[in-house]
């Protein structure tokens, strides 16, 4: 189970790209296996977006049948000045950042603990990854009812007191549940990194008189950086879309304290039936995502080996 990451400035292509230009027929033979997947992805993901664009220009509340008028960009004005949506944006950033940072740090700590041989290491690893495998909806219900509940929850049952965790610390409650689920994910990726670290480097650091802490901060951490980035990036892609935990544990409340963007747009669509506004909010979120994703894609392309084709 040796895993290695070798960093360099620009991975050289493994094989040179074939210099001979291909004929039209050959090009299509090459494209053929790709087309079904590509067509499917375009149809299922891009058409809904075009429809969203169209819907966002309508004044359409599904509770008032028959009244559906073109109003241009008015929905966008509404959305951009909406205090609820701004709160939701802030909550999304907070929730994602807090969950990612805490789970990466905890995952790093656990990975270091597991990067030694000790009796029962396999069992501990198995115990640790279990939270990630539990169905998120099951996890959210479990934490809300069996753990946070003020009268018979596990926390108050063990520690005493009658704190109503969910209503007093709504954001922390949601983040704790997410961190519990995502720490194992981070641990797995970081542990894979640690196990690929060459012993020669560590030995060299030791011979040069570096203490364990110095070795960790000067040698191990820089070496782990791509793994930490990869974990954080993939974690953010999933956590920014958090819905289950908010839906179950706090319903976005109290007030809008834990309403994130997915939950807010869900409310606009299926509780207020403001289709036009929901669509406009969706478009705004997509544009925001594209901005963030452009940056993220740059990180991805540096994290994944993008060696040349054969």
């Amino acid at each position: 189970m040796t895993r290695t990451i070798t960093a360099g400035a620009g991975a050289p292509p493994r094989r040179a790209v074939r210099p001979v230009p291909l004929g039209a027929r050959q090009r299509w033979t090459r494209r053929a296996p790709l087309l079904p997947a590509l067509t499917f992805a375009i149809v299922v993901t891009q058409i809904p977006f075009l429809v969203t664009l169209y819907l966002s220009t309508l004044d359409w509340n599904a509770l008032r049948p028959g009244r559906r008028a073109f109003i241009g960009l008015a929905n966008y004005g509404e959305v951009l000045t909406d205090a609820r949506l701004r709160a939701a944006l802030l909550n999304t950033v907070l929730l994602t950042a807090a969950s990612v940072v805490v789970s990466v740090l905890l995952g790093l700590g656990l990975a270091i603990l597991l990067d030694r041989r000790f009796p029962g290491r396999g069992v501990v690893r198995t115990l640790l990854i279990t939270p990630f495998l539990v169905m998120p909806m099951a996890a959210a219900l479990l934490w809300k009812h069996a753990i946070y509940n003020p009268s018979y929850g596990l926390i108050n049952g063990i520690a005493g007191g009658s704190t109503d965790w969910v209503s007093q610390y709504p954001m922390i409650s949601v983040v704790t549940t997410l961190v519990w689920q995502w720490t194992p994910f981070m641990m797995l990726i970081i542990l894979a990194g640690l196990q690929g670290q060459s012993l020669e480097t560590l030995e060299a650091a030791r011979v040069d008189g570096a203490g364990p802490w110095q070795t960790f901060t000067r040698v191990t951490l820089p070496y782990l950086r791509p793994y930490l980035e990869l974990g954080a990036l993939l974690g953010s892609i999933y956590l920014v879309q958090t819905f289950d935990a908010v839906f179950t544990i706090t319903q976005g409340g109290p007030g809008t304290a834990t309403t994130n963007l997915p939950y807010e747009i869900y409310l606009t669509t299926f509780r207020k039936f403001e289709y036009g506004e929901a669509a406009a909010a969706g478009v705004v979120v997509v544009i925001g995502t594209i901005v963030v994703a452009t940056f993220a894609l740059r990180v991805i392309s540096s994290l994944f080996r993008m060696e040349g084709a054969r």
Binding site: P36, W180, L188, V285, S302, F304, M306
Partner: protein, 289 residues
């Protein structure tokens, strides 16, 4: 730019510094065990509570020792969990199969015999994964409603296929890149047809990769809630929908809820436990080996 490579498969020797030595080693071992148990505690609590009577489940202080009963499980099945489980099985298995059928040839066209703009295509796929599902919800809901496909398990199959396709393309590509090109060229030299090359050379090498990809796709579709809650109801509801309905319909029965939560989590937990190695590779989209 970073390259992830495999350094042979030799086992790394344990360094003297990392071998558990004396008191400090024991302390680290204890700490690791405590951390493992702490993270597992909520799961253990869920499983235990599922075997309690309702009185013991909602007690304060918590009940740790009790005679296990199966009441919770019996009531879960009395309330018709089975159709929901079957819907989940259909949606997850069929979509996983479809994803593999679509993604494997696509990955081939992005690695072994690449199209001209393979880089752009690869990034197109991953960018669809970044698009927030919530922005697509309304049009999908309206389209599905128009087509009369609301509360239909095949709608979920299509959506889960598109949800997992990018992941699968990236993963399968990383597995196909591991096939030594000399092997493929040798096969071509020997006059092997494409089908023979695929069956005899590619498939045996990427089989573990296919398994890892299938595992990840299965996990994500089994656990999916957002589209399920908005597009399905009683007929096509998947297991997370069953869990939600459980709480709202008749107040809270903790033992029953925990029994249900245990059952619906079990397939993924078992699969993940068994295939831990594939899990790492899959979750990192093939970047970490």
């Amino acid at each position: 730019m970073t390259t992830l490579t495999r350094h042979g498969s030799r086992r790394r020797p344990t360094s003297p510094a990392r071998r558990a030595n004396g008191v400090r080693g024991a302390a680290w071992t204890t700490l690791a065990w405590l951390a493992g148990l702490l993270f597992f505690l909520p799961v253990l609590w869920m499983v235990l509570t599922g075997f309690k009577r309702e009185v013991d489940a909602a007690s304060n202080p918590p009940t740790w020792f009790f005679t296990p009963v199966l009441d919770g499980y019996r009531q879960v099945f009395d309330r018709d969990l089975t159709p929901y489980l079957l819907n989940s099985v259909t949606a997850s298995l069929v979509s996983t199969l479809l994803v593999l059928l679509l993604a494997t040839p696509a990955a081939y066209a992005l690695s072994i015999r690449p199209v001209a703009k393979w880089r752009d295509v690869l990034f197109f796929f991953i960018s669809t994964k970044m698009l927030p599902a919530v922005a697509a919800l309304l049009p999908i809901y309206l389209l599905v409603k128009q087509l009369g496909m609301l509360d239909n398990v095949w709608t979920m199959v299509v959506l889960y296929t598109s949800m997992n396709l990018p992941l699968a393309v990236w993963m399968m590509r990383s597995f196909l890149l591991e096939v030594p090109s000399a092997l493929i060229e040798a096969a071509a030299m020997d006059g092997a047809s494409l089908t023979v090359t695929i069956r005899r050379i590619l498939l045996p090498i990427v089989a573990p990769g296919l398994a890892a990809t299938a595992l990840i796709c299965f996990i994500f579709s089994w656990n999916e809630f957002f589209f399920a809650v908005n597009l399905t109801a009683t007929r096509a509801g998947t297991s997370p929908i069953f869990l939600v309905g459980f709480v709202t319909s008749e107040g809270l029965f903790l033992a029953r809820l925990c029994a249900a939560a245990t059952i619906v989590s079990l397939p993924v937990v078992l699969a993940g436990w068994i295939a831990q190695k594939q899990l790492v590779r899959g979750l990192s989209m093939g970047a970490v080996k």
